[in-house]
């Protein structure tokens, strides 16, 4: 677990950057599979993550961050908590699924920062971890409100009348 402020901010920058990149990657993938509506949503989520990345970078600019190798980051699950897990995606997923995925990621981000704030002994780490945890909590509330406005998918949302595995 990062204990000093520079290492903590290096993690925060990577967290937001990887979230933005993963959403952009998923947007591209959905575009290729002609799921335009979800592609657009992932694109928006990527833009939101970039905004947050800029905020974190502005803070991080005041510190000399360590150059960590990808495998030197101390993530709980091996990957940064807000990078959307690819195995929770589907080429026919709906906007509802997309926002649920974003909510899942934001909750993980919130837990990550809240945990850091709770465990930190360095006052600067505690301050920024709490600030970021509060922001993630706001994102969670925002997404929950957004999801409430979106129609849940029908039971057969993944029914493909021309499925990839059909050879006939």
């Amino acid at each position: 677990m990062p204990t000093d402020i520079a290492t903590f901010l290096a993690h925060a920058v990577a967290l937001e950057q990887e979230a933005a990149e993963r959403y952009a990657e998923l947007a591209d993938a959905m575009e290729v599979h002609n799921n335009k509506e979800v592609a657009e949503l992932f694109r928006k989520l990527s833009a939101f993550s970039k905004l947050h990345l800029d905020e974190v970078k502005a803070i991080a600019d005041n510190y000399d961050l360590p150059q960590l190798k990808p495998w030197e980051f101390q993530w709980t699950d091996g990957e940064s908590p807000e990078a959307a897990p690819s195995d929770r995606t589907h080429y026919m997923m709906t906007p509802y699924h997309c926002l649920q995925l974003a909510l899942f990621n934001e909750k993980k981000g919130h837990v990550y920062y809240a945990d850091r704030a709770h465990r930190a002994t360095d006052p600067e780490v505690k301050k920024f971890a709490q600030l970021f945890a509060d922001e993630e909590a706001e994102h969670v509330v925002m997404l929950e409100k957004w999801i409430a406005t979106v129609k849940p998918p029908q039971e057969n949302w993944d029914l493909d009348l021309d499925p990839p595995g059909d050879l006939e």
């Binding site: 993938a29 091996g78 990957e79 990839p164």
Partner: protein, 276 residues
Amino acid sequence: MNATTQLTAADFKSDVKPIWCPGCGDYAVLSAVTKALADLGKPREDIAFVSGIGCSSRIPAYTNVYGFHGVHGRALAIAAGVKLARPDLTVLAAGGDGDGLSIGGNHFMHACRRNVDMTYIVMDNQVYGMTKGQASPTTAPDWCNSKLTPEGTGISPVEPARLALASGANFIARGFAGNLNDVARLIVEGINHPGFSFIHILSPCVTYRPEQREWKNAVHPSADASPAQLVAEAMHRLAADDGYTTGVLFAGNRPPFMPERKEKATFADIEKKFVS
């Protein structure tokens, strides 16, 4: 490009967008490769990436280094040629389980024993995805979800790591696409290890093998503190392996194959032949 500039993973991604299915493990492998290349700190023009045919073999097009999308099963022959002609390059080869272990199975064995200094990444999803889901050489004998093998293949699958070891590979590692940072580490270690390095990556096919989403619950790090350095020791470990152990499984010390290079003609001599 300024060779002294520190490139990022994004610099190693091309503008070509992958057409893999959303959720495919190969996206993570692409990210791991670009992260590994950024960590190496080499300029893009010093890296060559060769592949065969199949979903995963599209990967060189999605990177920003010299790439060659080769012939089915022949990535290793091409990659070995590149390395022997240009030993200064870092050479990677990649493909899937079908391309590398069936169509290219013969090349795989001989590349292992030849031990040319290059790194071979196999993205194993135990299925032929590009041709709509047939059993591959690593498919379990009782997998019966393909119309071509409705009762399963009934054939024991190839065990890639065991085959690599038996054939003489000098470095063997296994990763899981769901842990891309660890895969990046394995690729860097493979590239830095002299000789033929084989990186076996469990890369789920969510379209034809959706049950592979559960691999994340099956993979586990090796219980051994360090990789086996002796073939006998590695064989003993792999004999008891469940196929889901991740990490460096073997790191040998055989010297790489590199024949003495004698210049037989200059470029000017070759040009003369074309002119006359």
